[in-house]
């Protein structure tokens, strides 16, 4: 088997706050192959964004810190690298697209200057060359009047345009991994559809994508494989087809059933009862136990590990462990 581009092994992230400590990310493992698009999907607070920040070593510290794990990127453990090395990796080999372009872009500098700064930080080129390169990328992502936009401030552009600029900045240095954290959540659906096709077109074949989202529809649209997170842990992972057509974990099943779909009449939706537990008092055992219709005694005692439920399809649930494990 070819080594994956990035291999996240047993990553845990702890936050120590005045109200107490909690694990935002608990023993999360997954990998992304070259050219592959992987979705990390879950509801707010499940730890998906913290996982992404962990990969880029951008977790605000204090209060957060990575308490264990390894992140192998191109055979280099990112957790052991010095800040200077990480700065070279970020923006060039690993780039990020955030949800709010307006808070990711500097409000005080014109678009052109921000792009040129990024290019010249990583590449040994002249100001003029960098400017021409940036302008070329603005045209590539479909901004009309690219030269004029180079002189614009972010607030003068619409949300869709800002996000196009973020995509240009994320892709212009040919990264091997792009991490997109809810890249279309702040956009209208019609703009979202345009951004999807843009990311798909612009992403070169050997660029990998980690897409973080709460929207199962977006994952279906963009990803080859998906990992579902719930309350700090991955509960299921597999190919897009397996997870959507044969969901194994009760949480995934419930989540897929709860999505409102176009309907011709008023219908009650299938909600998951209860609410996500607070990170300060995650229960012992499976974190989904109090909302699960299948809950066994063992779920309240032991933490289920991800086990194979099909080829390349994994679920962390005692439903698939047979009588012995459940009664153990």
């Amino acid at each position: 088997m070819i080594a994956p581009l990035i291999d996240i092994q047993h990553l845990s992230v702890r936050f120590d706050t005045d109200e107490g400590s909690f694990h935002a990310v608990d023993d999360v493992s997954f990998s992304i192959g070259r050219g592959e698009s992987v979705g990390l999907v879950g509801e707010s607070g499940c730890g998906k964004s913290v996982t992404a920040l962990g990969i880029t070593r951008l977790i605000p510290s204090p209060p957060g810190h990575i308490s264990s794990g390894r992140i192998l990127f191109d055979n280099m453990d990112l957790l052991l690298q010095k800040p200077a090395v990480l700065r070279q990796v970020r923006g060039a080999a690993i780039s990020m697209i955030f949800q709010e372009p307006l808070s990711a872009l500097s409000p005080l500098h014109r678009i052109g200057r921000q792009m040129v700064e990024g290019i010249r930080f990583h590449r040994d080129v002249s100001n003029k060359e960098a400017w021409a390169y940036a302008r070329e990328w603005l045209s590539k992502v479909g901004l009309p009047d690219a030269e004029e936009r180079m002189y614009a401030y972010p607030f003068q552009l619409s949300g869709g345009m800002q996000q196009r600029i973020m995509i240009a900045m994320a892709l212009m240095l040919s990264p091997s991994l792009v991490i997109a954290d809810e890249p279309t959540t702040a956009l209208d659906v019609t703009t979202q559809a345009q951004i999807f096709s843009l990311i798909r077109e612009m992403k070169q074949n050997d660029t990998s994508l980690l897409l973080i989202t709460h929207d199962m529809g977006v994952v279906w649209e963009m990803c080859d494989r998906v990992s579902v997170m719930y309350a700090s842990r991955i509960v299921e992972s597999g190919s897009r087809q397996d997870v959507f057509n044969r969901p194994a974990h009760p949480y995934t099943t419930g989540l897929l059933a709860a999505i409102p779909r176009l309907s011709v009449d008023k219908t009650r939706l299938q909600a998951i009862p209860g609410q996500v537990p607070s990170p300060f008092d995650y229960p012992r055992g499976c974190h989904f136990q109090d909302r699960c219709e299948h809950v066994f005694d063992v779920c309240r005692e032991n933490t289920p590990e991800l086990r194979s439920v099909g080829e390349g399809h994994f679920a962390a649930c005692f439903l698939y462990r047979g009588e012995d494990a459940r009664n153990a």
Binding site: G217, G254, I259
Partner: protein, 330 residues
Amino acid sequence: MPETRKPTPVKAPLLEVRDLKTWFPIKRGLFSITDGYVRAVDGISFVLDRNETLGLVGESGCGKTTLGRTLLGLEQATAGDIVFDGVSIPTLGRRQMNRLRRHIQVVFQDPLSSLNPRMNVMDIVTEGLVQFGMVEGSKQEHAARLLGEVGMNRDAIYRWPHEFSGGQRQRISIARALSLKPDLIICDEAVSALDVSVQAQVINLFLKLQKDHRLSYLFISHDLSVVSNIADRVAVMYLGQIVEFGNTADIVRNPLHPYTRALIAAVPVAGGKHIASDAVRGEPPSPASPPEGCRFHPRCPEVMPVCRHTAPNVMEKDGHQVMCHLYSQA
């Protein structure tokens, strides 16, 4: 508790909006000279019956929130009429309007900014009752009853908004809206900020409360999938105007306006077909300077020469109203 209001004739609609316009002046220069208008709501008419839900769908900036705020009396209408239960709202004085407010309540998108952080849950949900002198017996009992309606435990009454999750806070907002026994609740993106599993709970709660209290909802959302699960009829807004209006089933099965079709085509459906990359082009123009002719024509895949200079009228077709030249020749 006895209902003191006189019942209105069964036939009359609860709310009728006629050619409503809400424009905001753009002021420029030293003397604040008015230099054009943002036509946030630009000629909207519809009727909402009792016990009915009207879904109002559109993208950001289309004027759906301004329409809701105008109905609530939070924005001044520039022209047109709003008749609520036989009373014309724009003609009302401030005191009369304040009295009417009891009957029209609102649930906003972000419960954390619409709930006072310095009030406990009991005070929040009973504030309206106190204001209107409707507290009979203890506030605790009222609060507990209202929280029960929205599926919350009575031990929440002495807690504070920040102690609750988004879904719970939205339930508190709904309990507050219910407290005055309104006829109409305007829900402005009321479930948009919630996670899917909780969103479904809150949508189900809205459906249950409508049954229990014969409520009418104006359900404003950018998400047609959500709206189609809760609305009897749907109005699709684009740049200040309703471009298509009809029964939910008709709109979903047979969308006529190219914009409605684009909205439906652009929604990613888990397990469904992939979105065509040419679903919609361009971005919505500014409502300060809407395009001439049909406002959708620069983005429309079926644009015809006539669309560029003549604004379409509202046409009846297959039981819906649609504002599009595609249907005017027939």
